[in-house]
C-alpha cells in the first residue's frame, strides 16, 4: 500500500502515460464521453425541473377543487338527481372541522360581455377573495389585486388578465383607473395580471370582489366552487375525501354517493408531473451510467491490449527487479488515473455545455432554467470512476503479472 503514496510511483505512471499520448487520449475518450453525457443530461433535466417549478411558482400544489353536481342516490327522503349547491357557510364549516385544511377559498364565476371604449369581448368574470392571491400567486403587471376594503364595501373594481388588457385596450394605453363595462355595469380597473405559463381550473379573465359578484348577480350565499389547500403535513388525497364526506353530511347526501360532489385534486396531478421529472432524471442517470460503464470497459479493453503490446517492457521491468505486485499496482493505477483524468475532462466539458445552455436560454420564455448538477453528484461520479477504474484495471493487471519475464524477453 505504501507504493500508492509514493511520489515515485506517480512519477513513473505520469511518465508512462505522458509518453504514450495518443494511446492515452484514445483510451479516455469513452469515459470522457460518458461522464460528459451524464453531467450534460442531468444538468438539462435539472434545468427543466427548475423551469417547471418556477412556472408553478407559488401555486399551492397541495390543493383540491370541489364543486357541487347532483346526487346519484336517493337519501333522507330526497329523490336522486337533486342538484347540489355549495354554500358560503360550507367553507367555514370545512375550515373549522377539518384540521388538515389550511385555506378554503370560495369562488363564483360566470360569462360576461365586456366593453371598453370601442373594443369588446366575452370573458369569464369571477368573484374572488384576496385569499386567492395566497394560494395562486398573482403576478401583477400594473396595480394591485382585490383587497379587504374592496370586499367590505363591495366596490365595483376589476382586476383583468393580460390577455383581456391586450384585447380591449388600445396599445400602450394605461389601464389603471380606466372603466370597463361588464354586462352593462361599469367597473374601475385596479390591476392587470401577468400571463402565467400554467393555468389551473377555468380560465381567469376578470376578477371582481366576491361580495360585489354576490350582489350584482344575486348569488345569495351560493358559491360555484371552492379551492381547498392542505397544510404542510397533510395528505391532500385524505383531505379531499374528508371534505367530500363532510359536505355530504351537511347537505343530506348518502355517504357513498360519488356523484353529488365533483373534485379535482391538483396535488395528485402535480405528483404525476413531478413523477415524470423524476423518471426523466432516473433515465438520465441510467443512460449516463451505462455510457460510463461502457467507457470504463473501453479503458480496460485498451489496457488489456497495451499489456499485450507492452509484454517486452513488462518483462524488462520484471528482469530488473519489479515485483509482481509492483507491476499490478502500476497497471491498476494507470487505469484509475486514466478514468479520473477522463472524468475530470468530461465534467469540465459537461459544465461548459451547461454554462452555454444557461447563457443561451435566458429570459422568461427559456425552456431550461439554471441547468446545473450538484457537487455531490460530481463527487459520487468521480468516486464511482475510481472504483470502476480499479475494478477494471484488475483484469489487465492480472494479465500483466502472468507474463513470465523469460517469455517476454525471448528474441523474436
Amino acid at each position: 500500500m505504501k507504493t500508492i503514496f509514493d511520489k515515485d510511483t506517480w512519477q513513473e505512471i505520469y511518465g508512462t502515460l505522458r509518453k504514450n499520448v495518443m494511446r492515452t487520449i484514445i483510451t479516455i475518450i469513452g469515459v470522457m464521453w460518458g461522464i460528459f453525457l451524464l453531467v450534460a443530461l442531468l444538468g438539462a433535466a435539472k434545468g427543466f425541473e427548475n423551469k417547471f417549478n418556477k412556472d408553478i411558482g407559488d401555486l399551492a400544489t397541495n390543493s383540491v377543487f370541489v364543486w357541487g353536481q347532483s346526487t346519484g342516490m336517493a337519501f333522507g327522503g330526497f329523490q336522486e338527481g337533486r342538484p347540489m349547491r355549495l354554500k358560503l357557510t360550507d367553507t367555514k364549516t370545512i375550515k373549522d372541522q377539518i384540521s388538515a385544511v389550511e385555506h378554503v377559498v370560495p369562488r363564483n364565476q360566470r360569462g360576461a360581455h365586456v366593453v371598453h371604449k370601442f373594443l369588446d369581448g366575452n370573458y369569464n368574470v369571477t368573484g374572488d377573495y384576496p385569499l386567492l392571491d395566497k394560494i395562486q400567486k398573482k403576478n401583477l403587471l400594473f396595480g394591485r389585486f382585490i383587497n379587504d376594503s374592496d370586499i367590505d364595501e363591495s366596490r365595483k373594481v376589476a382586476v383583468i388578465s393580460q390577455d383581456v388588457y391586450e384585447e380591449i385596450f388600445e396599445f400602450e394605453e394605461y389601464p389603471i383607473g380606466a372603466y370597463i363595462e361588464i354586462n352593462k355595469i361599469n367597473y374601475k380597473v385596479i390591476g392587470v395580471i401577468k400571463k402565467s405559463n400554467i393555468q389551473m381550473g377555468p380560465r381567469d379573465d376578470i376578477h371582481i370582489p366576491f361580495t360585489t359578484f354576490q350582489k350584482v348577480y344575486n348569488q345569495g350565499d351560493r358559491i360555484g366552487w371552492m379551492i381547498i389547500t392542505g397544510n404542510s403535513e397533510s395528505d391532500i388525497s385524505q383531505v379531499e375525501a374528508d371534505v367530500k364526506l363532510l359536505l355530504k353530511n351537511i347537505h343530506d347526501v348518502h355517504p357513498e354517493d360519488s356523484r353529488a360532489f365533483g373534485s379535482f385534486n391538483l396535488g395528485e396531478n402535480f405528483g404525476q408531473v413531478t413523477g415524470f421529472l423524476t423518471g426523466m432524471q432516473f433515465l438520465t442517470i441510467f443512460v449516463g451510467l451505462a455510457t460510463l460503464i461502457a467507457g470504463i470497459f473501453a479503458i480496460g479493453n485498451i489496457l488489456l491490449i497495451t499489456v499485450k503490446e507492452r509484454t517486452q517492457e513488462i518483462g524488462i521491468r520484471r528482469a530488473l527487479g519489479a515485483k509482481p505486485s509492483e507491476i499490478k499496482i502500476q497497471i491498476i493505477l494507470e487505469s484509475v488515473v486514466l478514468s479520473l483524468f477522463a472524468g475530470v475532462l468530461g465534467i469540465i466539458a459537461g459544465g461548459g455545455i451547461l454554462f452555454l445552455l444557461n447563457s443561451l436560454f435566458t429570459g422568461p420564455d427559456a425552456v431550461l432554467l439554471n441547468s446545473s448538477v450538484t457537487i455531490s453528484t460530481i463527487l459520487s461520479a468521480l468516486f464511482s470512476l475510481v472504483f470502476l477504474g480499479t475494478l477494471i484495471g484488475l483484469i489487465p493487471a492480472s494479465r500483466a503479472v502472468r507474463i513470465k519475464p523469460i517469455e517476454a524477453l525471448r528474441d523474436e
Binding site: 517486452q312 521491468r317 527487479g321 515485483k323 523469460i406
Partner: protein, 230 residues
Amino acid sequence: MIKIKGLHKSYPMGKDSLHVLKGLDLHIKEGEFVSIMGSSGSGKSTLLNIVGLLDIHDVGEYHLNGQLIEKLDEKKAAILRNKFLGFVFQSFNLISYKTALENVALPLYYAGVNRKERLKTALDYLDKVGLKEWANHLPNELSGGQKQRVAIARALVTKPKVVLADEPTGALDSTTTDSVMDLLKEINDEGMTVFVITHEEEVAEQTKRIVRLKDGVIISDEVTNPKVLA
C-alpha cells in the same frame, strides 16, 4: 559466487518432455570472467535463465552468493534479481519511451532509491560507459553499440554481484563488438563477476574462462591463454 551441482532442467513438449540440461556442475568464483559457449540448442540460454532466476531448475542445487536457491516465488526472485544480478541482452531491451538516463535509473526505482539519488547514480554510470552526453536521448536515437553500453550501465547501476550477458554482441558489428567487450573486460577488472553467453568464438576468446556446452552437458571447461589474462 555461483555454485551449481547436478542441475537438470526439462520442458514439457506435449506428452513428452525435452531434457535440456542434463546434470551440470559449475562453480564460478567472485571476479571471474566466464563465457558459456555452445551452438543453439545446447542449453546455454536455459542455463542463463536459471542462473538469472528467470526460470527454476528441476533437480540439483544452485547457490547464488552463498544462498541456496529453492522455493523461489516471483516476489523473492524479483528482489534477488534486483539485488544480485545485472542483465545485458542481445536485443538490448531498453524501454523505448524512456531516455537513456531513465532506463539506467529503472532498476534503482525497483530497489526503492529516491528519484534524485537514482538519477544522480544513473548519470555516474552513463558517464562510466562514456554516454553522459546522450543521457536525455531516447533509445532509437542511439546506435547499437551505444544502446548496449546503456544496457551495461543499467546492469551495473545496482552494484550487482554478477553481470549476466546473453549474446551481448549478437546484434553488433565487429567494431562495436570490440568496444562492448572492452567495456565488459573493464568492469571485470574492477572486480565484477561477468558471465557471458555466446556462440561466437571471438567473443569467448576474450574472456578468462570458457565453458563449452553441448546437448545439455559440459564438454570442456578451460582457462584461456595467459595473453588474455595479462
